[in-house]
């Protein structure tokens, strides 16, 4: 394993110091909005506790709820499909489209379809997919994956978006006004919505009791696509279930306040039955989730409602950017979910954390994120995917990235590292301090810090 993979990828991002500061500050600002929104709710901790228990209960009875959901959705006139893995999921969609001779589809935000690499798959079969969420459209035009689960293009400056829109949507060269760029996307995507016969959405919550599901957006893009299309395909992981409709009260109170600090998204759409003359299909996807459910130490990660609060608060995420994780879902929760998919490829991620616990403190469903990261480290080392010495180096890097003081002294420290841990330098620890002026530090500081860190983490 290349231990410094996450660090190497962070290197690109850290070339531009101002940009890193901007990224850091933008996300911290969102974190502060989350704090204000949550402090306005006197029962916030009770909400978190109860939501966590509802999710724990659902996971402990998922076998029952999946069947209840299927029964009720079918009674509503919805067709249910089951997909054991990404390949099966993609093939179900391909078949649904081919049966109807559809070669273009519009899609709203769905991290699951990212996980299944649906766009590439359909593209290979001659089907064009257009992402309709503005942020997703931007990264799609840039041929990049989203760098954040709620704010897909948070890593992009408006000038870069202006360039992309100039090239693809014909906006005037050099214009970077968000209002103007959003208007251009609105016009272009309106035409897409009006001409597509198939629309795919993700699912935020699915209700076993009623067979309905809820999709939350601010832009209205999911609904624009769905209501104008003949067929609505909804892709959902099997962990999205909750038992009853009234449980939504808790989750919708928590979700957006945790995400962006808004009291609720503009639209919380409840899809129960297909509209007259239209078809609705739901694909229930496992793709490793039942395996994660069987891991007592990690099953709590399936409680995640994808609010992204743990991203926004994470000092490592904020200073390394989403792409440095090289995973469909970045950030602290992505570092728990990704090794389940591919332990070898993502062996570096559980080490890209300081275990400061900030993620667990903000998580609206009380996932013990930092404890799970710590547990993954043990598993990855035991399974032989990491050299224990090297993993200590990753922790050093994470600490360095997270702490302004360590970040400043890292230049000198890394030279000291040659003595203690030459593999770190071979693997380019310098990713995180390149292009910075480093003040001199006493020779001993890194060594002291290093041994202390070892004690804490061994």
């Amino acid at each position: 394993m290349k231990v410094a993979d996450h660090a190497q990828r962070a290197k690109e991002f850290n070339k531009d110091e101002k940009r890193v500061d901007w990224h850091d500050e933008t996300l911290w600002f969102i974190r502060q909005k989350r704090d204000r929104a949550s402090h306005n709710i006197p029962q916030w901790e009770e909400l978190r506790n109860t939501a966590s228990q509802i999710k724990n209960h659902t996971l402990s009875n998922l076998h029952h709820y999946l069947q209840e959901f299927e029964r009720n959705a079918q009674a509503n006139g919805v067709t249910i499909h089951w997909a054991a893995n990404a390949e099966e999921h993609n093939n179900i969609i391909l078949k649904l489209l081919q049966e109807r001779n559809i070669s273009q589809m519009v899609k709203s935000k769905s991290m699951l379809t990212e996980e299944c690499h649906l766009n590439d798959f359909l593209g290979d079969h001659g089907i064009e997919v257009i992402d309709s969420d503005l942020g997703e459209r931007i990264v799609q035009l840039a041929k990049e994956p989203p760098s954040h689960i709620v704010l897909p293009c948070i890593h992009k400056k408006k000038e870069e978006i202006g360039e992309l829109f100039h090239e693809h949507l014909g906006t005037p060269k050099g214009s970077a006004d968000p209002q103007l760029l959003t208007e251009a996307a609105r016009q272009s995507l309106r035409n897409v919505f009006l001409t597509r016969k198939a629309a795919l959405t993700g699912v935020n919550f699915a209700i076993a009791e009623t067979g309905e599901f809820v999709v939350c957006t601010n832009e209205g893009n999911a609904d624009m696509g769905v209501h104008l299309a003949d067929i609505h395909i909804a892709s959902m992981g099997i962990e999205k279930l909750i038992p009853q409709r009234r449980h939504l009260g808790l989750f919708l109170r928590l979700l957006t306040r945790s995400a962006t600090g808004q009291p609720i998204t503009t639209y919380s759409s409840h899809f129960a039955k297909p509209a007259k003359g239209k078809a609705m299909h739901i694909i229930l996807v496992d793709n490793g989730r039942s395996r994660q459910l069987g891991r007592p130490d990690f099953r709590a990660s399936l409680k995640c409602i994808r609010c992204s609060a743990c991203f926004n608060t994470c000092p490592v995420y904020r200073r390394s950017g989403g792409h440095s994780y090289n995973a469909v879902i970045a950030g602290p929760i992505g570092s728990i979910l990704s090794p389940n998919f591919d332990m070898k490829k993502h062996a570096d991620l559980p080490f890209a954390s300081t275990l400061c616990g900030s993620c667990s403190n903000v998580c609206p469903v009380k996932i013990d994120i930092h404890d799970q990261l710590y547990k993954w480290r043990q598993v990855i080392v035991q399974e032989g995917y990491a050299d224990p010495k090297k993993t200590v180096a990753m922790q050093v890097m994470a600490k360095t990235l997270a702490s302004p003081t360590m970040y400043r002294i890292a230049g000198k420290a890394a030279r000291t590292t040659l003595k203690y841990a030459p593999f770190v330098v071979n693997n380019k620890l310098n990713a995180w301090y390149l292009h910075r002026d480093m003040p001199e530090v006493p020779k001993s500081s890194f060594g002291e810090w290093y041994s202390k860190n070892r004690k804490n983490n061994d």
Partner: protein
Amino acid sequence: MTSKEQILAAVKASQPDLKELPSLDFFYQDNLNQDEDLAQFIETVEFIGAKTYRVNSYEEIIAQLQQDFDLKGKRVISPLNEFSTIAEKYTGADNHTLADAELIILPTHFAVAENGACWIDDHLFDERLMLFIPQHLAFVLKKEEVVPTMHRAYERIAGKSYGYGAFVAGPSKTADIEQSLVLGAHGPRSLRVFII
């Protein structure tokens, strides 16, 4: 074995011992106060970008809309008879014909004070697209129909049967470009709530 059987078998083998489903009673220990709830709703929905008007009649709503918009030659749609002087009803079979709608006026079931959302389901309108396609959207809300929290909101609709329903809170918006808030992403550019 089908994929369904395979997934269900794997889930059954993996799921932990049954954990209890918690009670929600705690969240219903609130003091209901219509005036306070309405005031909070108005404050919240304006904060998220909507406009509110307290009115006594549908005539007042029409007068306000005519003042706010130049509706001449523009398409205005509402399922409510009260707006027949300014609006047509949508009865078509192909909702693509709604693409040029300037203003749509819809009734709502109730509103939620804590987040500024209005609930509307297909008992009040039959074309789902009407919430999303117009350039501007207006809601009519009865002033006594405000609940304080989402718990109370779901209490109202817990047993209801609908094909589609939505909480709508403010105009369509995005902040995807450098976190700058822009109203009118894909849906309506503005939302007016007339409290009658």
